[in-house]
């Protein structure tokens, strides 16, 4: 950037941030960022609900009650006071189903992202460190994954292996590693050329040690940011696949599945399709807020951007 702009910037004095201990600093920053705080609270609540679902849910989410089918939420006439968010076409309690649905969303979201991160780390390290033909082939692989929508790859995998929670986690993990691989590779490429790594190698230090000491610390903040934001997109992907009937299969409860059930009753019972969608949107929004905040505090390059 040019000196001109820096001059002007310098003339707008910035208050120096006082040095604080790590945790205190993060807490302060979280309290200052409104969206970050909102995101944190949402994610915290969703995680809490997912963990304590059996205690929080008023009903067994699978229990049908044919005497109480398609009851609206309690703020609408004709509701049943026991079912706060109403019931579905089989008389199952919507609130309980949404509470249980959070488990699958978070489980798939987090595990798939962890898997993607591990694959990305390995591919990136191998490509960056070994270079040459290995790098070329792996980068073409990255291009190939970029040329195909995630959901399409996921569909092909599901067509082959059939739908289940573990398949879904593997499928999403295997289709989402590209972003991590690119970051790790470029970091590995730049670190490989530095003197201290050459020196370390010349005295026989093994690659894994170099990786742990020098590469991981440099990519960890990007990893945290990308992972957080990928959990958001993974939750949407899982919900989409479940909605299409190719993801989570009943009786396992997922938000996408509840939504898909509710779709046939749009004309009479709008809440069936609306409420689980709202749950997805709010959860994803919370994660995006949290991810944006993390990017602001962890990635120095993005700081000061509007």
């Amino acid at each position: 950037m040019s000196e001109q702009i820096t001059t002007v910037e310098k003339e707008i004095p910035y208050t120096q941030v006082k040095k604080q201990s790590g945790a205190g600093k993060i807490l302060k920053s979280l309290l200052r960022s409104k969206t970050g705080l909102v995101g944190f609270i949402i994610v915290f609540i969703v995680a809490f609900i997912a963990i304590f679902a059996p205690w929080l849910a008023p009903f067994d989410p699978g229990a049908m009650d044919v005497t109480k089918i398609l009851k609206p939420p309690i703020w609408i006439d004709g509701s049943d006071p026991a079912h706060i968010l109403g019931t579905d076409n089989l008389g199952r309690d919507i609130l309980s189903r949404i509470i249980y649905g959070s488990r699958v969303s978070l489980l798939v979201g987090i595990s798939a992202v962890a898997l993607a991160g591990i694959i990305g780390l390995i591919v990136g390290l191998v490509a960056g460190f070994y270079g040459g033909i290995v790098d070329m082939i792996l980068m073409r692989l990255v291009d190939s994954f970029l040329a195909i929508p995630n959901i399409l790859f996921a569909l092909v995998f599901l067509a082959v292996f059939g739908a289940s929670v573990p398949t879904l986690i593997i499928v999403i993990g295997v289709t989402n590693w590209v972003a991590y691989a690119r970051i790790v590779r470029s970091e590995a490429l730049s670190i490989k050329e530095r003197e201290f790594v050459k020196a370390a190698r010349s005295i026989g230090v093994r690659n894994p040690l170099i990786i742990i000491r020098h590469i991981l610390p440099n990519v960890i903040s990007s990893f945290i940011v990308i992972s957080t934001l990928s959990v958001a997109s993974t939750i949407i992907l899982e919900a989409s696949l479940s909605f299409l009937g190719l993801g989570i299969q009943p009786p396992t409860i997922s938000w996408g599945g509840i939504l898909s059930d509710g779709r046939d009753y749009l004309a009479t019972s709008w809440w069936l399709a609306t409420l689980p969608g709202l749950a997805i949107t709010i959860t994803v929004l919370g994660i995006i807020f949290l991810g944006d905040w993390l990017r602001d505090i962890l990635d120095p390059r993005s700081q000061g951007r509007g």
């Binding site: 000196e3 001109q4 002007v8 003339e11």
Partner: protein, 328 residues
């Protein structure tokens, strides 16, 4: 020297709004420029010199604003005119060139497009006439093969050429005042001299007044008639170029001169001013230069000196001068 005053800045205050309150970037600056004259504003980065020039151009944007003071251009107070009136002046009567000729030109448009833009706007010429005039201007600033350069994109030109293009654009409407913000800082030394020569020659020919913003005293010595030294948003010393260089009165000016290499002096010892410009949240209570001043004494820490008028139009903001006068 003629005494037609082109621009008169009176008690200019430009503030920037920050999370920790309003901060003065320019804090009570006054000066005037006469026709054909070159006034240099000198100071380190952070001294408010660039903000002063942007205030005159009306290019201060939020969170900054001109809080107080007048900028009289002829009869018009630029601090008060409407944006549409301002636009008629900008590029026409007042023009500006910037430090970084690479980033000051839009990379996606040809040189011709950018020079014609101003000509068409202010002189009401059509495209063909503007092209003729534009090529003429490019020739005027010493660009070889101006027809070819007219159709080139900025990235194909060298730094010196780009700055010539900037000057051609700035002068295309014969402005009365040219503001040059560090015009040569980003250029090679040999090119610097050429650009300065060009500016001097053109200002002579057209009687254009120049407000030169720089941190480089070498450029000042070469170009300026009068000099204002700025520190922390204030003018600390003002005078004609000879007396400033021969007999700097303010310790800050002395420090700046001591840190600039001179010709013809052997065994010269270069000293630098210790410390850095204070940030606005830890501004000293008394004289703002006091923490870095080798000659500071008790009073400097307690109260801020005023800008004092001396003979032959010089002004200084320093307790030492006040004291000397009190003694004599």
């Amino acid at each position: 020297m003629k005494s037609n005053v082109i621009l008169k800045v009176e008690d200019l205050h430009t503030y920037f709004r920050t999370s920790s309150g309003d901060v003065p970037s320019v804090n009570g600056v006054s000066f005037e420029i006469k026709e054909g004259e070159t006034l240099a504003i000198v100071g380190e980065s952070g001294s408010g010199k660039s903000v002063t020039s942007l205030s005159i151009m009306g290019l201060i944007e939020k969170p900054g604003e001109i809080r107080k003071g007048k900028i009289l251009f002829g009869d018009v107070d630029l601090a008060k005119v409407s944006e549409s009136q301002y636009r008629k002046l900008r590029g026409n009567d007042v023009a500006m060139i910037f430090q970084e000729p690479l980033t000051s030109l839009n990379p996606l448009f040809t040189v011709g497009n950018q020079i014609s833009e101003s000509i068409k706007l202010h002189q009401g010429l059509d495209k063909k006439q503007a092209k003729i005039k534009g090529i003429e201007m490019l020739k005027h600033v010493g660009i070889p093969r101006p027809e070819k350069v007219f159709d080139s994109y900025p990235h194909t030109l060298s730094g010196g050429m780009r700055q010539r293009v900037m000057i051609a654009i700035a002068l295309s409407c014969q402005p009365k005042l040219l503001i040059a913000d560090e015009p040569t800082t980003a250029l090679d030394v040999t090119i610097q001299a050429q650009i300065l020569d060009l500016m001097r020659k053109l200002s002579k020919e057209e009687h254009t007044a120049i407000l030169l913003i720089t941190h480089d005293l070498g450029v000042v010595a070469e170009m300026a008639d009068r000099v204002a030294v700025m520190y922390c948003g204030q003018v600390v010393e003002f005078g004609d170029v000879y007396s400033i260089f021969d007999n700097p009165l303010h310790p800050y000016t002395q420090g700046l001169l001591d840190s600039t290499p001179k010709f013809f002096e052997e065994n010269e010892v270069l000293t630098s001013i210790k410390g850095t410009v204070p940030t606005m949240d830890n501004m000293p209570k008394g004289c703002k230069f006091c923490p870095r001043c080798p000659l500071a004494f008790d009073k400097c820490m307690e109260a801020e000196p005023q800008l004092k008028q001396l003979d032959n139009g010089r002004q200084v903001r320093c307790w030492l001068i006040e004291q000397e006068e009190a003694i004599s």
